[in-house]
Amino acid sequence: MQQKSKLWVLLLPLMVFLVAVVFLFKGLYSDPSKLESALIGQPVPTFTLQDLYQQDIQHDASIFKGKPMLLNVWATWCPTCYAEHTYLNKLAAEGIYIVGLNYKDDREKAIGWLTQLGDPYQVSLYDKDGMLGLDLGVYGAPETYLIDSQGVIQYRHVGDVNDQVWQQTLLPMFKELK
């Protein structure tokens, strides 16, 4: 009995060491700039924003109801948005419903960009002051949100959507959305 408890005391530093190894090893491969959204499981915040193309059309949060969809936050000043644009066009062609949020941008430039590169968005919101962006907790474009048919945010991806991200992360979750 005495021997056994002594063994445990001697093993304690080893166990502390192993826990630290696992913790630090995980830290090697985690990206600290990726933050989980605080809005997971919550509905898209209420807003009223103009349509990107037509100033007299206004949209509100009801556009996120009815079917699972993506919300893509982008801007013409964002190089990574350029990089992912082709892939978004491909997803749109495959029938994925994507809402675009043009974030703190110039309307003319944004329309020019979509005309030139193709428009993957079913609806394009124009958020000049970044008000919806702030309510969504956007901290860097591009960001892509998975939204279920109830208009509830289920996941946020920060960074570009490419084939790997879509196939490995987003698509499996998108299929689960109700």
Partner: protein, 152 residues
């Protein structure tokens, strides 16, 4: 002549191009609160900088929002909650106690408690050693004789 030109040009002062935002407050308390908040709130984009130090567009937006909220008469907790609801607890340098952060508070207590347990364990062992060699009756009798001053 060149010297004079140099002095004149060096004395010329143009308005600085860098725009420094000026915030005006209704009261001294609001200003102090705003200063405190911008130091305490962390910029999610430019990590490890607070929104007072960072000039990233997002930090500017957050400063502006914090300013508006302070102007509306919101207190510290309300502003921090507003930001945390959007950007998560990451946004504050003074995180609340949650299951994920509880170790920050309990960790030190755990180590102090562990130290006390080890200490208690050690002293108990020492005591046992002290009282270990007990005298049998013959030895006790001998001790009594010595103490009484009897000689063998």
């Amino acid at each position: 002549m060149r010297i004079v030109m140099l002095i004149i040009t060096s004395l010329l002062c143009f308005a600085s191009q860098a725009a420094i935002q000026v915030y005006e407050f209704d009261s001294k308390e609001q200003e102090v609160l705003f200063q405190q908040l911008t130091k305490e709130l962390r910029c999610p984009k430019c990590q490890n900088q607070n929104i007072a130090d960072s000039n990233a567009p997002l930090a500017q937006d957050l400063r502006q929002k914090a300013y508006e909220l302070v102007k509306q008469g919101k207190d510290r907790d309300q502003v921090v909650d507003y930001m945390a609801a959007r950007f998560g607890n990451f946004v504050t340098y003074d995180p609340p106690m949650t299951p994920a952060t509880i170790f920050l508070w309990l960790g030190p207590l755990f180590f102090v408690f562990g130290g006390l347990v080890v200490l208690w364990h050690k002293t108990r062992v020492v005591k046992k050693v002290d009282s270990a060699p007990e005298m049998d009756t013959a030895e006790q009798a001998k001790l009594a004789r010595i103490l009484n001053g009897d000689k063998d």
